[in-house]
Assembly symmetry: C2
Homo-oligomer: 411 residues x 2
């Protein structure tokens, strides 16, 4: 009977392959002001050139570049100032040879002018004339119409996560509304006979519901909307009822609490009682978080997490967040492809054949980023509070030696 109740573990890599079956949710239109950190569900095309007119990039004098040829500190050229361009105004004047107009940064460069001499390289001779001290090339200090963006060009692609600068671009081309993917709703169930709500004082043997709060927070951080479905007792009917509710009201269901083999078996029994269930992963070669369960139920992702708060957080961070990103329709994942690397400040043992995630405190010293492992058998939430990140020990590695570099995921 040794090794009883064990399941065939799979690698994290296999899990990542299996989540690709999920698809982005449907879409909605939101105001530009409400679109920060949402994900575009349309290609955005610019209706006009940007800039719409040639603009100066400096404060100075718009002129013909050829009039400055040969100009130098010792040998300035003389130019006649025929006008001043006011900001926000159309310059209807046309510059002739030997003429220049005063212009501010962003001002419209007038017809005939093809460059702008910076004010620093000029000197007034009298109220009508200046000396210019620097030879300019054509188009120097000028942005041409359409130089940034051409009318009809796709400026942002479907799947783009909207940051501050994307909102700026949308504003620049006059978009007051955009079409985005819906934010995924995530139903969260805490399971376990020993779990009591936070407001309740646990009696001996009971513990408060930590996972509800950590998982809901991580859902929010990933742009999702958490929906708490309650604490389920370790009974088929209670779990089944909350699962039904979750599948009806949300786009993904997460259960925490299947840390022991018995609970995991019960959760597995419940999800298999739904007609359209496919179990994708049942046990992972990872620590912490071995008893992880991934399934597709009625077309929606289901994630069964260990009840241990640290394990649940690590697994949701590594796998729950990527699933949410798929549902959110994100295609540009720069943030998740840039890996932070740090050196282990002491030996970190591990076992090959399993990915380990060790809590670390980070410290920069003389330009080197050091990761101090936080050990402790209990692996409690307090250790996660002290940690800045999780250091990954790859599945083929037998730990890291002091000074060896590894990948760190900020948490």
């Amino acid at each position: 009977m040794k090794m009883k109740g064990f399941f065939k573990v799979q690698t994290p890599q296999q899990l990542y392959q299996r989540i690709n079956r999920f698809k982005p949710l449907s879409t909605e239109t939101v105001f530009l002001e409400e679109s920060l950190h949402r994900v575009l569900s349309e290609d955005v095309i610019s209706p006009a050139n940007l800039p719409e007119f040639p603009r100066s990039t400096v404060d100075g004098f718009a002129l013909k570049a050829k009039d400055t040829y040969g100009a130098s500190e010792k040998n300035p050229v003389l130019l006649q100032i025929v006008a001043e361009i006011q900001m926000g105004q159309i310059s209807e004047i046309t510059i002739k040879d030997g003429e220049a107009v005063k212009i501010a940064t962003g001002g419209m460069v007038p017809n005939g002018a093809d460059a702008v001499e910076m004010v620093e390289y000029t000197e007034w001779v009298d109220g009508q004339t200046i000396h210019a001290f620097k030879t300019l090339s054509p188009l120097e200090n000028v942005i041409q119409a359409g130089e940034d963006i051409r009318a009809g060009e796709i400026v942002l692609k479907k799947g783009c996560l909207l940051r501050s600068q994307e909102l700026g671009l949308l504003a620049a081309i006059g978009r007051t509304e955009v079409r985005v993917f819906l934010r995924p709703k995530v139903g969260i169930i805490s399971s376990g006979d020993e779990i009591v709500p936070v407001e309740q004082t646990p009696s001996s043997g009971e513990v408060r519901d930590i996972n509800r709060h950590t998982i809901a927070s991580m859902v929010k951080e990933t742009g999702g909307v958490p929906l708490f479905l309650g604490i389920a007792k370790d009974r088929f009917d209670d779990l089944r009822e909350k699962m039904e509710w979750g599948l009806r009201e949300s786009d993904m269901v997460v259960i925490t609490g299947g840390s022991s083999v018995g609970t995991l078996d019960l959760v597995s029994e419940v999800i298999q009682s739904f007609s359209k269930t496919e179990i994708l992963v049942h046990g992972l070669s990872i620590r912490p978080g071995k008893p992880t369960l991934l399934a597709e139920i009625e077309g929606k992702p289901f994630l069964g997490l260990p009840g241990h708060p640290v394990s649940a957080m690590v697994i949701f961070h590594l796998f729950g967040k990527p699933i949410l990103k798929i549902l959110s329709g994100i295609s540009n994942k720069t943030e998740s492809t840039i890996r932070l690397r740090a050196k282990a400040s002491r030996n970190i043992p591990s076992i090959a054949g399993r990915e380990d995630y060790v809590r670390v405190k980070l410290e920069e010293k003389d330009g080197i980023l050091w990761a101090h492992p936080i050990f402790g058998k209990s692996g409690t939430i307090f250790h996660l509070v002290q940690a800045d990140g999780l250091m990954k020990i790859g599945i083929d590695e037998e730990g890291l030696e002091e000074g060896e570099e590894g990948e760190v995921i900020l948490i």
Copy 2:
């Protein structure tokens, strides 16, 4: 008249020193559910031990460690199973020599037991007896009461930014509400005669108000609340009126648009018309963003940013965000002290005596992070959309050579 209108520039380092005069805002109480990414304004003390009872960290059998001494794969010890501890229940039994009780992960370890043999190292002999194959030390696979947190201990300090794990810890100790600093309200004014609202089609010479959207987004990202005060014409009375409104209704005021020397002078005149104004920085040795203005007006920070959208974003990122963090009361700034480093994929020229921030696209290749500079004289918002970060060229450096490592700030 050469160099006319120039102001005495200061270094970014000097600006950072000057923002330390600002103080955190007052406080409010929020529900645990609403406290994510808020900043604690109290030290949080645990009212009880955590765990409150000795718990098993594995599925297995609680027993006296001494009964397993000498046990091995070939030479198991025999133990009598006298009970099974249900999750969430108090174990009232007391273990005697040679006895063990079945226990799940998280279960309460009964009196008399001081270790838990993992189920993987056991084998049922009959319904009442097991073989245990592994020698245990006392306390192996057991968390003692108070091992994580002792009653009366400070578990989270004032100034702590609340992440998912801190919410988990607060849940664990039964906190349903916490005292936090108020979120800073930031009044935003876009200035310039050429600026029109996004919904308006600009005529020649006019441009849409990009900065309102980029700055408001960056305020939100830093935990602040943006308040848009409108587009001000380049006139003293209009600027003054919007400034008054901003100082009345918000905790910090930001004006964008002082890109040209003339506008900057006007903004400077307006802020000096308030009785309690101290100009702290007027011009920065930085590119982009030289025409930056920092002041304290009626005890509140005021930041005057260039009108150029890229410059405004860079400066707000580098200086506006740190000021907001001070107002928010954040004391642990791990995120901002961890510097991402990347190698320049080609030469990036710069001038000593000025900090340069060059837009870069990041790419990881064979474990090395490369920064590809995005050049272009215009430095438009479209370039920021293509960028993942800003590469810093220090004030004493004359650029970076291909392959040389530098610091990158993600944007």
